[in-house]
């Protein structure tokens, strides 16, 4: 039993992070339930002695400024994403105590999927869900939890089920899931229910300390301003209206054995470099790519399945291993199966501003639609390598050099149509030298399908030879 009830130590003494002149009082309206809840949470953090390892994830909503108040680790998440952010923090720092704090507009509307998936994964986090049946911060619009008949700025005649559906019961919904261990709905109507909430918050945090799994405490909380009521009336309004729709109850409490621990993340330098396949020299480089060479901006395009995305990755990775700046930007688009896929690759000795290639100096078109789509964008003096086995009609703009290579036919002759992209790689390397062949071969050796290695190496050589023959051929004057 405490001797003194006073401001918990897990609050800052002065809220110096606030931009307001007032650094002593919270920014909440008179009678707002956030203050009570903050107090209960801070007190529980104090009593469990977990402040040093607690991370508080603030939502979007009135509690967005949680980091003004809580003397713990703080992260402010994008609207609805608090449980996803909390998941990341908890997984990266398994020993941390992560509190995800969200309102009903945040959690039950835009973030409905995040909370559902986090609960379903049984993330060992504590979610505090503040339900005041309204969007408070933005001025009292209808929330998913708004009661039927309740007047808000967006339901001025009252919420009607035929138009806006029914109030969403989050606790009941989540309690149907297998993974959550503790789900309770509390309220802040009066002294008794506040103490009940106090208990629930402590329990939810204790479960996390014991690594039992996912817990959520929903709190019916007054919003006197949004409800246009006096503070005292707003508490009565919870009793008279909210608890009938959102009955306070323990919806789930099955603390299983402590959760099986996920493998601890490793942050040691060597282990990370090893996992990334990066050599020590590259990692400790000065940040400048070796030497000065022209920037290559490439668009690779072809049928889905021809391997243009992988080709782009391999080129970018090769450049990365050589210590160059690289980017790889895949574009799948809302395409049908068998449609065209493309990716943008930039390899440079300078930092890359944008991975988007508006005007490539090299286009690799592995089908007719690709050539038609991108040829006009190629920079004057640029090169277009196209698969002459598929591309039959060629109308290239002036000042662009076309290099026809029967990529797919070569691949078929080698016995595997899938290696057409590697044939293209051979041609690209021979024509541009944007990456070295040695490092590219090294990457081919590391691909998962070892059975394809031999034919891949043959394809690379065939592509190079085909390109070399092209280089020796005189370029038609019209295309120079």
């Amino acid at each position: 039993m405490k001797d003194v009830f006073k401001k918990p130590d897990s609050f800052y003494e002065f809220f110096t992070r606030s931009a307001a002149a007032d650094k002593e009082a919270t920014h909440y309206c008179p009678g707002c339930g956030h203050g009570n809840l903050h107090k209960l949470i801070a007190e529980a953090i104090d009593d469990l002695a977990i402040a040093h390892r607690t991370v508080f994830v603030s939502p979007v909503g009135c509690a967005v400024f949680g980091y003004y108040y809580f003397r713990v680790g703080n992260v402010q998440a994008a609207h609805g994403r608090a449980p996803a952010v909390a998941t990341g923090i908890k997984r990266a720092l398994p020993h941390s105590i992560v509190i995800s704090y969200q309102g009903d507009g945040d959690l039950a509307a835009i973030g409905a999927n995040e909370i559902l998936q986090a609960a379903n994964r049984g993330e060992s986090i504590t979610v505090i869900f503040v339900n005041n049946a309204i969007y408070g911060m933005t001025g009292g619009q209808m929330a998913p939890t708004t009661l039927l008949g309740m007047k808000t700025t967006t339901t001025p005649y009252g919420r009607k089920s035929i138009n806006e559906g029914y109030p969403l019961r989050v606790c009941e919904l989540l309690a149907t899931l297998e993974a959550p261990v503790y789900i309770e709905r509390c309220t802040l109507e009066d002294s008794k229910t506040i103490m009940r909430t106090r208990k629930a918050i402590r329990k939810a945090l204790e479960y996390q300390v014991e690594n039992k799994g996912f817990s959520l405490v929903e709190v019916l909380s007054p919003c006197p301003t949004g409800w246009k009521l006096e503070p005292i009336e707003s508490r009565q309004w919870i009793t008279d209206n909210m608890v009938k729709v959102f009955p306070p109850n323990v919806y789930k409490d099955k603390p299983a054995e402590p959760r099986e621990e996920l493998p601890s993340p490793v942050f040691e330098r060597d282990a990370v470099l090893n996992a990334l396949g990066v050599t020590d020299e590259v990692a400790s480089g000065s940040g400048h790519a070796p030497g000065d060479f022209p920037t290559h901006e490439v668009v690779l395009s072809g049928f889905g399945g021809q391997g243009v995305l992988l080709l782009g990755q391999l080129l970018a990775k090769s450049g990365m291993r050589e210590g160059k700046y690289v980017s790889w930007l895949p574009s799948y688009g809302p395409e049908m199966r068998g449609g065209t896929a493309n990716c943008h690759v930039v390899i440079s000795s300078k930092r890359i501003g944008s991975p988007y290639v508006a005007e490539p100096n090299l286009l690799v078109a592995m089908n007719q639609p690709s050539l038609e789509k991108f040829a006009a964008r190629v920079r004057p003096g640029g090169v277009v390598i196209y698969d002459s086995s598929f591309v039959k009609t060629v109308a290239l703009p002036a000042h662009i050099r076309g290099v026809p290579i029967p990529l797919s036919e070569i691949a078929n002759e080698l016995g595997n149509a899938k290696v057409a992209n590697v044939v293209a790689a051979g041609a690209i390397i021979a024509l541009t030298g944007m990456v070295g062949e040695t490092v590219f071969v090294e990457l081919l050796r590391n691909l998962p399908k070892k059975a394809l290695l031999e034919v891949n190496l043959k394809a690379l050589a065939a592509g190079r030879q085909a390109a070399e023959r092209q280089i020796k051929q005189p370029i038609p004057a019209a295309l120079v």
């Binding site: 909440y28 309206c29 339930g33």
Partner: protein, 93 residues
């Protein structure tokens, strides 16, 4: 009702005591309504933030802490349940 003078607070308090920092009070009236022995008053004037504020009438606090939990403002209410000096005396005797 008279405004409670801050100086009335005996430091350290010799009996259960509630101290409302009037400048932090936003006048929601929760503590006044919730106080079981009804020993909190509500001002007629306003504080520097522009709110009417609650204050201890000066006698009858049991130190239950209910006003503390009802108050939404983290630092506005402090309640001494068991005065520190009493405990010290026990240890000394």
């Amino acid at each position: 009702m008279e405004m409670t003078d801050h100086a009335l607070l005996p430091v350290p308090p010799t009996r259960p005591w509630v101290d409302v920092t009037s400048r932090l009070c936003k006048g929601c009236d929760f503590c006044v309504e919730a106080c079981p022995p009804r020993v909190l008053g509500f001002s007629t004037d306003i504080n520097e933030r522009g709110y009417r504020y609650s204050f201890y009438l000066g006698d009858g606090c049991t130190g239950c802490g209910i006003c503390f939990y009802n108050c939404p403002e983290p630092g506005a209410i402090v309640v001494w349940r068991q005065p520190a000096d009493k405990k010290e005396k026990k240890v000394l005797s």
